[in-house]
C-alpha cells in the first residue's frame, strides 16, 4: 500500500527526514514513534504530498507527488495533529467536506455522498451532534468529528498524526479502539504517529522508530519498545513491563 524508498525531506536547509526505506502492507497498522523533532509529522506530510521530497513515496503503486490531488484524496485520508475547525461550521457540514474528492469542481453532493457522511457520523456515535457548531464541542468530540470527516472520505489508507493528543486516557482508548474496529470492518490500512509508547505498542502491528530523521529500528512492537532503544533515542530512563502486545512503558525517576 505504501512504499517509501530513500525518502528525504529538506525544509529550510535542514534535513528533516533522511533516507527512509519502508513499506506498509495493505490492511496493516504501522505507527511511527520517536522523540520530538524526529521527523514523524514531516514523513506523514510527505506521504500526503504536502511537502516536496526526494526519493520515492508511493501509495497504491503511484508516486504521490505526481498523482492528481483528487485521486490521492480518494486513496489517502489525513487526520492532522491540530486540524483547523471553523468555529461556526456545523458537524454535518464538516463531515460532508470529506466527500470533496468525489465531487466535480463546481458539483454538489448527491444522496450517495450524504449517506456516506451520515454513515461516518453514525459509526463515531455523532448522530446527535450533526447540527452542533464545531466550536461547541469538547476536545474528544472534536477528535471524533475529524475522524468522521476522514472516514467519509472513504479512502483505504488512513494517516493519523497524533490522534490521541489532548485526550484523557479513556478517550485515547476509545479513539484507538474505534480506529482498530473501523480498520477491521473496512479493511483500512493505517499509518499513524504517536507519542505514547504503551498505546503505540498495544495497537500497531509494527512500529517504526525515527530519530534525527532516520529510521533507526522497525519491527513488531515488543522488539522496538525496549528499555535500551528508548534510553538511546529518547534519553529517557524507563522500564518496560509485560510482553507481546500487552506491554507498558513506565518512566523511572533516578
Amino acid at each position: 500500500m505504501i512504499e517509501l524508498a530513500s525518502l528525504g525531506v529538506r525544509l529550510g536547509g535542514v534535513e528533516i527526514v533522511d533516507g527512509v526505506d519502508a513499506t506498509v502492507a495493505a490492511g496493516e497498522w504501522v505507527t511511527l514513534i520517536g522523540p520530538n523533532g524526529a521527523g514523524k509529522t514531516t514523513l506523514l506530510r510527505a506521504v500526503a504530498a504536502l511537502v516536496p521530497y526526494t526519493g520515492s513515496a508511493r501509495v497504491g503503486g503511484d508516486e504521490v507527488s505526481s498523482l492528481p490531488r483528487r485521486e490521492l484524496a480518494r486513496r489517502l485520508a489525513l487526520v492532522p495533529q491540530s486540524p483547523l475547525l471553523p468555529p461556526a461550521m456545523r458537524v454535518s457540514e464538516y463531515v460532508l467536506l470529506g466527500r470533496t474528492p468525489y465531487l466535480g469542481a463546481f458539483g454538489y453532493e448527491s444522496r450517495h455522498d450524504h449517506d456516506a457522511a451520515r454513515r461516518a457520523l453514525d459509526q463515531l456515535d455523532l448522530g446527535t451532534f450533526a447540527n452542533r457548531a464545531l466550536a461547541t464541542l469538547s476536545g474528544g468530540e472534536q477528535q471524533r468529528v475529524v475522524l468522521a470527516r476522514a472516514l467519509a472520505q472513504e479512502a483505504s489508507l488512513l494517516v493519523l498524526d497524533e490522534p490521541t493528543t489532548s485526550l484523557d486516557v479513556g478517550r485515547q482508548q476509545q479513539v484507538l479502539e474505534l480506529v482498530a474496529a473501523l480498520r477491521e470492518r473496512r479493511g483500512l490500512t493505517v499509518l499513524s504517529a504517536m507519542h505514547d509508547l504503551t498505546l503505540a505498542a498495544q495497537y500497531a502491528d509494527s512500529l517504526m522508530l525515527l530519530s534525527g530523521g532516520r529510521l533507526v529500528a522497525a519491527g513488531p512492537p515488543s522488539e522496538i519498545v525496549t528499555e535500551e532503544l528508548v534510553a538511546e533515542h529518547y534519553r529517557a530512563d524507563v522500564r518496560v513491563f509485560g510482553e507481546g502486545r500487552s506491554i507498558a512503558v513506565v518512566p523511572m525517576r533516578s
Binding site: A48, A49, L50, R69, R70, E71, L72, A73, R74, L76, A77, L78, P80, P83, L84, L85, P86, P87, A88, M89, E93, Y94, L97, G98, T100, P101, L103, A105, F106, Y108, A133, A135, Q153
Partner: protein, 341 residues
Amino acid sequence: MTTKGTLAVLGGVVFLVGAALVGLTVGPADITVGEIVRSAASHLPLLHVRSHLSPTDSAIVWQLRAPRVVLGLLVGGMLAIAGGAYQGVFRNPLVDPYLLGVAAGAGLGATLAISYGGSGVGSYDLLPLAAFTGAALGVALAYALGSAGAGGRSPAALVLAGVTVVSFLTAIQTFVQQQHANSLEQVFDWILGRLSTAGWHDVVLCAPYVLVSSAVLILHRRLLDVLAVGDEEAATLGVNVKRVRLAVVVAATVGTSAAVAVSGLIGFVGIIVPHFVRLAIGSSYRIVLPLSLLVGAGFLVLADVIARTILSPEEIPIGVITAFFGAPFFAVVLRTSRSFT
C-alpha cells in the same frame, strides 16, 4: 441547498425587489408603484397594458431613476459578494474587497485621469477606464508580490503584499493630488463614491463584468467552504488551493474594479453585508455568497434613496450613508446574535 437556505434566498429576492421599487418611487416627482408596474408592463408585448404615466414622468422613471437603481443593485451586490469571497479565500473576517489594492489602484488611476486628462475626462469614459485599469493593476501587483518568496501565496503573505501595494500607490496618488490642487475637489468627490445619474451608460459599462464575476464567485461557493479548513487540509481533500484562490481573487477583483470604476469608492458594503448574512443565517459560503449579492444590492439602493432625499435637492455622498446607517444597524445585530465568527 437546505430549506432554510432556500427561504433565506427567497427573502433576499423579496428584499431586493422591495428596495428597487422604493428606489423607483421615491423622489420629488410623485409616482406610485402601481403606475410604474403598469408602465413597465406596457413595454411588454402581448399584454396590451396602457401606461398612465405622462412622458415626463415616464422619462423620470426610466431614464433617471431606473438606471440609478440598477447601477445601485449591480455595485452593491458586487461589493458585497466580492467582500464575502475575499473573506473566505483569506480566511480573515476583517478583509474587504478593497484589501489587495483595488481601492488604492482605482484611486490612483482616477486621480491621474482627473489631473492629466484635461477636458477628455468627461468624454471617452477616460475616468472609469483609468480607475478600472488602476484597480486591476494594483491587485496584480499585490498578487505577484505575495506569490514570490518562501511564504508563496499563503493568505498572510498576500494580505501583507496588499498592505504594501496600497501604501505605495496611495503615496503616489497623494503626490499627484498635491501637485494638482485645482483638481482636489473632483478627486475627493470621486473617492467618496456616488451613483451617477448619467442614464444607462454606466450600467452598460459595468454590468457585463459584474454579472460574469458574480457567476464565477457563486460557482466557487462550495470550494470556499472547503478552504475554511485550511490550505493543507483542503489540499488533502483533493482541492487545488492555489488555483481556487487565484480564480476567486481574479473574479472578485475584476467585478469590484468595474463597480469602483463607475461608482467611486463606496465603503462599508463589502465588509458589513457578508457579516450580516453570516450572523443572521449561517457561515456556509453556499449561503453567504448568493445572499450577500442580494442583500448588498438592495442595501445600496436604499442607501442611495436616503443619500438623495434627506437634504434634497442636495445629495450626500453615498459612502457617508452606508457607514452612518450601516454601522449602528450592524452593532445591533452583533449584540443580539449568539456567535460571531
